[in-house]
């Protein structure tokens, strides 16, 4: 996977994860372009778009579009499953996840993604394990008092 984008139906970016190095300007341009391509797709077309030398795989869940860009040799149908699995993880963690959850807790969305995918490859295929790891990490996050009392360095 080269990158993953989440954006709303109005074209607002909700999450961006890049697994390749690109200058900021380039990233912005790509995001604009892809949002435009995906939003203009007809309803009854396939979920795959050829874009430059990559393939875009996108799926809409309620008001959010989930879009990944993969290389030529990656299995597109499996990618759809990967996207679906991510949504399931979010759902399990937040409980009936909706777009607002992702907006207000974007950093958690990132953490969950990072427990599922590293460097563009899936790391954990068990729903239970992935979510458990996040919850355990959350436990480690200090409460406010603990936070204040611990030294900074």
């Amino acid at each position: 996977i080269h990158f993953i984008l989440l954006f709303s139906r109005q074209g607002k970016l909700r999450l961006q994860k890049w697994y390749t190095t690109l200058p900021d300007k380039e990233k912005k341009k790509i995001i604009r372009e892809i949002i435009q391509i995906v939003l203009s797709r007809h309803q009854r077309t396939s979920s795959f778009v050829d874009w430059k030398d990559l393939k875009l795989i996108y799926k809409r869940y309620a008001s959010l579009y989930f879009c990944c860009a993969v290389e030529d040799q990656d299995n597109e149908l499996l990618m759809l499953e990967v996207v679906h699995r991510y949504v399931e993880l979010l759902d399990r963690y937040f409980g009936n996840v909706c777009e607002l959850d992702i907006i207000f807790n974007f950093e958690k969305a990132y953490f969950i993604l990072d427990e599922f995918i590293i460097g563009g490859e899936v790391q954990e295929t068990s729903k239970k394990s992935a979510v458990k790891a996040i919850e355990d990490s959350d436990m480690l996050q200090e409460t406010v008092e603990e936070y204040m009392n611990k030294p900074a360095f």
């Binding site: 190095t21 396939s46 149908l77 759809l80 974007f106 950093e107 990132y110 790391q123």
Partner: protein
């Protein structure tokens, strides 16, 4: 200073902004607050501030001033800080920033942290955005973690190793020992990431691949059987809620294993054999009702097609793809078409069976599906199905999106050329393409089409009639108009005389034909190239039409002052044809002969027409190579490129119809050789028939300096004539002699005419001289080209006659030239 607002507060506030400007204002305010907070080195709220900064970054606002802060957070002891710090690093920093290297030490420490979640954070960050330097520094730590028994860390370390290998391929060796036991794990996460790691190694290094195919040292089993075993367990084992997706156990792992098997089995018989069974099992047992099952089947098919599988398995695979094609799900049809496209070359017959389904996909709404269906359809056209396929493809051409039309048109032309069942069908198909997608046809198709039409001799009348009808109504599609103009120019006489056999001949008058050509010339829609075609066509008709020659003359002279330089030049030259060289006109504008069949790239190889004269008369298409098929009775001479001939007279590719025996070109007519009393019986005057052909150009000839010495053929009374020689590369019987006549006296020689005669076994062709005046004092020369055809390779001899006016009196002389060097005729 009050505590900075919380992250959620900020988000809520920003979302209330109603305009972009309002939002920008809020953000700027908050950024300022954050900046001053950073300056004050506020440890307590740094985390909160960076989080807010990240949110603003996602909205598109600059956040680079937070980079260093991220580093400070990473270095902090608090887990919360580290989490946000690492996230910030992944979002804001990348290897192009100088500061990122400062992270290296922190990451190193965290990789050895007592808490696995901290270690996890470090591994994750390194695996997502680590630069080559960082990877080099930390590869050892990663390798260590790869061997740990903690599966949580092991799986992350494996993917981190993948990233390291991608960035620094030389380090691959380092991870090899650690891979030995990876597949012995029960944990699916570790299994999955291990397979990914192995795949990466095998893909990158053939040595690794060879290593993994062989028996491995410590463990008793080979890689392939091990993978097969794992895969089998996945399929056979009962329901496992943890990894289940719609009834299938861990599809992600299954697909990755299949992919690794593909790489291992590629070009390797033993490995391929070991996996045949499991592939068959997966292919037949997988549930296909949901996308998941199809994903696995898809990967299985890809693997079967790529390894050295037995034919039964391959047929099974293609049938699966065929079933995919019938599936309602667009995504599945899409992947099916993509895979079929890859396999159509190798398993052509099997794919043919699904032809009708593929053709149906041409009517799909989805653009990507249509494109793939089109490419596949072209790959499947053969002699048997060409008529049916063409019908479908022409229909598709009619209705498809503009971005496809050019490719589709080219594809149709190619297929038609290869498999046309009859000439008429071929011409009809071309007509159909030109009329439906005329403006999308590629430029290089026009010369190909013209050649095709020329070669279908019996269809000329039919073709020109149809083309005429096509442009009557609408002459906006440039390629169509170009082809039509050319045809009308060539075969206009057939059109007016109503000779068409194939269909009902239409009644057309010469004026009507000229009307349409003139409208093309005048129309704003016509490109410059098209106008050139039209003008030349009109000119050609001057020899084919009988009653409208004056009209043609008028048109031609009007364009002599056209703004378009190309048109103007042509018109001026045509005018000259009418005025000074009217006797040459019929010969110059003769019908084109059948052109030799060349590959589609053919005509462009020989281009290098030199001199604008050539292009002017030849129109813009490159001239065809000039050789007649060998069964012609008469040998042909290749025309030289026009560099020796000044632009006064265009040396046109005058030509003869292939079959005609009669019409003769008599360029020498005015030189009056025939019946000249000076011809001794031993010499035969250069008689027709000799045939001139399409043009070739200079590169076909040897370099003049390449070794044939030139001679002085005549030198008397101050008049010197030199001969220089060239031999043709393509036709060894042809010698080209360039004569140069110079005058060393004090007075010019005017009305100079050079004539030549050769023995009976030779043929001679004299081209026009550069002028008829030889200036005095050797201050200039007349050049003229002679072509000699010497099929029997006899010694070249020539008799020349010179006439000129000098010092007020007419001079005349005869001479024999015997000193031809052997290289000029051997």
């Amino acid at each position: 200073m009050p505590a900075p607002i919380r992250l959620r507060e900020l988000i809520r506030t920003i979302r209330t902004a109603r305009t972009q400007a309002e939002e920008r204002e809020m953000i700027q305010k908050e950024c300022a607050a954050i900046r001053s907070s950073f300056r004050e080195e506020d440890n307590t709220y740094r985390c909160r501030n960076v989080a807010k900064l990240l949110y603003m970054h996602m909205l598109g606002y600059p956040a680079h001033f937070g980079q260093l802060e991220c580093l400070k957070l990473i270095a902090s002891q608090k887990f919360t800080d580290k989490r946000i710090g690492y996230l910030g690093a992944m979002l804001l920093l990348d290897e192009r920033q100088d500061v990122h290297l400062l992270m290296t030490n922190c990451i190193k420490n965290d990789l050895n942290h007592s808490t696995q979640y901290v270690q996890g954070l470090a591994l994750c960050t390194l695996g997502c955005m680590g630069s080559s330097e960082m990877c080099r520094d930390l590869a050892g730590e990663v390798e260590k973690l790869l061997k740990t028994s903690n599966s949580y860390l092991r799986k992350k370390a494996a993917l981190c190793a993948v990233h390291v290998i991608r960035k620094v391929p030389e380090l691959m060796e380092m991870f090899l020992p650690a891979t030995k036991n990876l597949l012995n794990e029960k944990n699916h996460g570790v299994l999955h990431t291990s397979v990914v790691l192995l795949t990466e190694m095998c893909e990158r290094s053939p040595d690794m691949l060879a290593h993994f195919r062989k028996v491995r040292q410590l463990s008793s089993s080979q890689l392939v059987p091990q993978l097969v075993r794992i895969l089998k367990n996945l399929i056979m084992s009962g329901y496992s809620p943890e990894h289940d997706v719609s009834g299938i156990s861990d599809p992600f792992l299954q697909v990755r294993i299949l992919r690794l098997l593909r790489i291992l089995g590629r070009n390797d018989d033993d490995s391929s054999e070991a996996m045949n069974d499991i592939l068959a099992q997966v292919a037949t047992n997988t549930e296909t009702s949901k996308n998941v099952g199809n994903a696995i089947l898809y990967e299985t098919v890809l693997t079967i097609m790529d390894i050295k599988s037995e034919s039964g398995l391959r047929v099974l695979a293609i049938n699966i793809l065929g079933r995919f094609l019938l599936n309602n799900d667009k995504n599945i049809r899409y992947v099916a078409l993509t895979s079929l496209l890859k396999t159509v070359q190798t398993d052509h017959n099997a794919v043919q069976r699904h032809r009708s389904t593929i053709v149906d996909c041409l009517k799909d709404l989805d653009v990507s599906i249509k494109r793939r269906a089109m490419e596949l359809s072209f790959a499947l056209v053969n002699g048997n199905n060409v008529r049916g396929m063409m019908k479908e493809l022409l229909y598709f051409l009619d209705s498809c999106e503009p971005e496809f039309k050019a490719d589709c048109a080219s594809g149709i032309f190619l297929a038609a050329e290869k498999y046309a069942p009859s000439k008429r069908w071929h011409i009809d198909t071309i007509m159909r393409v030109l009329t439906t997608a005329g403006s999308y046809v590629r430029d290089d198709a026009v010369p190909n089409l013209i050649q095709l039409i020329t070669n279908s001799v019996e269809m000329h009348a039919y073709t020109v009639q149809r083309l005429y009808k096509a442009i009557l109504g609408d002459y906006s599609q440039q390629p169509l108009v170009q082809v039509a103009s050319w045809c009308i120019g060539e075969y206009g006489d057939l059109l007016v005389s109503g000779q068409c056999e194939e269909e009902e001949p239409i009644q057309v008058t010469e004026d009507e034909v000229l009307d349409i050509l003139e409208s093309v010339l005048i129309s704003n829609m016509s490109a410059s190239v098209t106008r050139g075609y039209a003008l030349t066509a009109i000119m050609k008709l001057s020899t084919r039409f009988t009653c409208t020659v004056n009209r043609i003359k008028k048109v031609v002279s009007i364009y002599g002052s056209s703004i378009d330089v190309e048109l103007q030049q042509r018109a001026v030259e045509y005018n000259a044809l009418f005025k000074k060289y009217d006797h040459m006109r019929p010969a110059l504008l003769e019908r084109m002969p059948v052109m030799e069949k060349v590959t589609t790239n053919g005509p462009t190889e020989i281009v290098q027409t030199n001199g604008e004269t050539e292009t002017a008369v030849l129109e813009t298409k490159p001239p065809p190579p000039g050789l007649q098929p060998a069964n012609q009775a008469n040998d042909l001479l290749d025309l030289l490129g026009g560099s020796d001939i000044t632009p006064v007279i265009p040396t046109a590719p005058t030509s003869k119809p292939a079959s005609a025996g009669g019409e003769l070109l008599d360029l020498l007519g005015d030189l009056n050789l025939t019946g000249s009393p000076v011809s001794a019986p031993a010499f035969q005057i250069a008689q027709p028939p000799f045939l001139l052909d399409g043009l070739t150009s200079q590169p076909l000839f040897n370099d003049t300096t390449a070794g044939i010495p030139s001679i002085t053929a005549y030198n008397k009374n101050g008049l010197k004539i030199d001969f220089t020689f060239e031999r043709s590369n393509t036709n060894p019987s042809v010698t080209v002699i360039t004569i140069q006549a110079s005058n060393s006296t004090e007075l010019d020689m005017t009305d100079f005419v050079f004539q030549a005669a050769v023995p009976k076994t030779f043929q001679l062709q004299l081209l026009s001289p550069s002028s008829s005046v030889i200036p005095a004092f050797n201050s200039g020369t007349i050049t003229q080209v002679i072509k000699v055809l010497n099929p029997q390779k006899q010694q070249l001899r020539m008799r020349i006659k010179l006439t000129y006016n000098h010092k007020g009196s007419a001079m005349q002389d005869l001479a024999e030239v015997n000193n031809f060097p052997p290289q000029s005729w051997q």
